[in-house]
């Protein structure tokens, strides 16, 4: 019952937040000089064209009415139309989003496979020289912009060593992209480095927290070796906080893919957004902002819910 009430409250909060986000996006559309008419007709439209368009589309109606109409269209999956690419925004996003997800999932998987063992190892070797070196490295990596990492990797691995191609795989389908794995190496590495820096830090802290728990002392008293305690007990308990962090990490993942896709010309949502910003193509920009925001809200909601399900302590304290 407690759990059910917590879930209901958390879902309710998320719905309110998504609702507020739609208001912000709607407000941004009306902040444009000339309003949404300017957004749709483009920067070069004359004031007369804008006035005529407003009358035709009912844009001179009260804002509240317009907002409700906008909300109604959103609920039907209508995100507006890109007049630069001449296609519905929803279709454009549906086409690009899976490719961005592929890149993000690959980078997160590679990143975590390195970050988690690294964090545990650092906790095991805590306050020894190797721990200090790795901690300083992640401190520096945290301050390094993704685009700088990408540029350095491009110089080293495409110009000096020519091991990998400088462009990400192109193609219309996921299968096309996966058929050229060599071209995926640099984009995935670039995105993964940030994840390694951040999550090795979380894992180290989380492991250290767990090492001071009673069950660790009990296991040690029963003669379990430190290696076994780490692998069998501490690792599984640390995963709780790591899963939660992954949920909160979604907006950073999208921001990273924006830069990585721009850098390696990878045909995902980040590149779509960047091209729209250059145009500027406001229906696409605001559609992407809305989708990414909803993904962020769902991510942190899932993070909280997962925690409730896998950690009974959270359930009882809430």
């Amino acid at each position: 019952m407690e759990t059910f009430r917590f879930i209901l409250k958390r879902v309710g909060q998320s719905v309110v937040v998504v609702f507020l986000v739609t208001i912000v996006v709607f407000a941004l559309l009306h902040l444009l000089p000339g309003g949404p008419a300017r957004g749709i007709l483009g920067v070069q439209a004359t004031p007369e064209q804008i006035a005529a368009f407003k009358e035709k589309r009912g844009l001179d109606e009260p804002l509240v009415i317009q907002y409700l109409e906008y909300l109604g269209r959103l609920l039907q999956g209508d995100l507006g139309r890109s007049y630069v690419l001449n296609a519905p925004v929803a279709d454009l996003i549906i086409d690009r989003l899976p490719k961005t997800l592929l890149l993000s999932v690959l980078s997160a998987a590679v990143g975590l496979m390195i970050a988690l063992p690294l964090g545990i190892w650092q906790a095991y070797k805590r306050n020894r020289p190797s721990d200090y070196v790795l901690t300083s490295l992640s401190f520096v990596a945290y301050a390094t912009p993704v685009f700088f990492v990408g540029l350095i990797l491009i110089i080293v691995f495409t110009q000096w060593l020519s091991w990998f191609p400088p462009l990400a795989p192109r193609g219309d389908s996921i299968a096309d992209i996966l058929s050229d794995p060599q071209a995926l190496v640099l984009p995935v590495t670039t995105a993964a480095l940030g994840i390694i820096a951040l999550f090795s830090r979380y894992m180290r802290a989380s492991t250290l927290d767990n090492l001071s728990e009673d069950y660790v002392r009990t296991a040690a008293a029963k003669g379990t070796s430190e290696g076994q305690i780490l692998a069998r007990h501490v690792f599984r308990n640390s995963l709780t906080s790591i899963t939660t962090m992954l949920g909160y990490y979604i907006p950073v993942l999208f921001a990273g893919s924006l830069v990585v896709e721009q850098l390696f010309n990878y045909p995902g949502m980040g590149l779509l957004f960047w091209n729209a910003a250059q145009a500027p193509d406001f229906p696409v920009l605001l559609g992407c902002v809305l989708i990414i925001s909803i993904a962020t809200v769902i991510g942190s909601l899932l993070a909280d819910l997962v925690q409730v399900f896998i950690d009974p302590r959270v359930r009882h304290s809430s």
Partner: protein, 300 residues
Amino acid sequence: MSEAQIEVSRRGGAPDGMAAPVSNRMLMWKRFMRNKIAVVGAVVVVLAFAFAFLGPLIYQTDQVHVQLSAANEAPSANHWLGTDAVGFDQLGRMMVGGQVSLTIGLAAGVLATVIGALWGSVAGYTGGWVDAIMMRIVDSGIAIPALFILLVISAIVSPNSLTMILVIGCLAWLVPSRLVRAETLTLKSRDYVLTLRGIGGGHWRVVSRHIVPNTISTLVVNATFQIADAILLVAYVSYLGMGVQAPATDWGGMLSAGLSAAYSGFWWLIIPPGVAIILVVCAFNAIGDGLRDMFDVKGR
């Protein structure tokens, strides 16, 4: 440690049995100086500001006239870090760009902290449905990733230093507002606040004289991290070509043509701005860590 407590201990002098009166301020200073990495960070920040703002007085370069005949030259005695794609001296460009990066980062970080402090203290102190609404607004703000919204706004208004400070400041206040709200909630039930309310102290007086000053340490620590984040955010926006417009530039903007420079092997156009960003962001983060230890507060 709060301002009020510091005042008390300074006026009261040393407790009996102590040899010399040591003020808390001295103690905190010593604690900061003991954190060597934080001290190094502070030195790096001072050097970075000196480089950007005093450097042009010593190393004078022409950052106004394009000189295509001297484009993309490798480092030499004339141009210590070479020249860029339109013939500007790269070292001089680093100084000009540093002025913009540091100014925007510093101002936006401070602005964000001020807005966050006001919002968080009002929400936490008022409580009830006002608090609920104010914090849901913060939630929805956090749900919209700052980089994306910043690019949208840059597409609407042509960005310059002032608009970027205002926009980043108005986006980045969300996290400090949560921190300050949490502290306000604990502070407002403290005895001295209740006493002040009991003897007729107004709400404004309580918030401005007692709540906000007691969150100062949290705010200072957070502001330092905010500055680091703002410098990074500006770098991202400028790298993506939506930052301050030419002929002005900043360290991120100097890398916006980095891809073609990378293909041509012009390393001197890529390494210096990138390293400068990393150094300064690391330095501010290190200072933040040092201040957090010094004030003994929970930062991020």
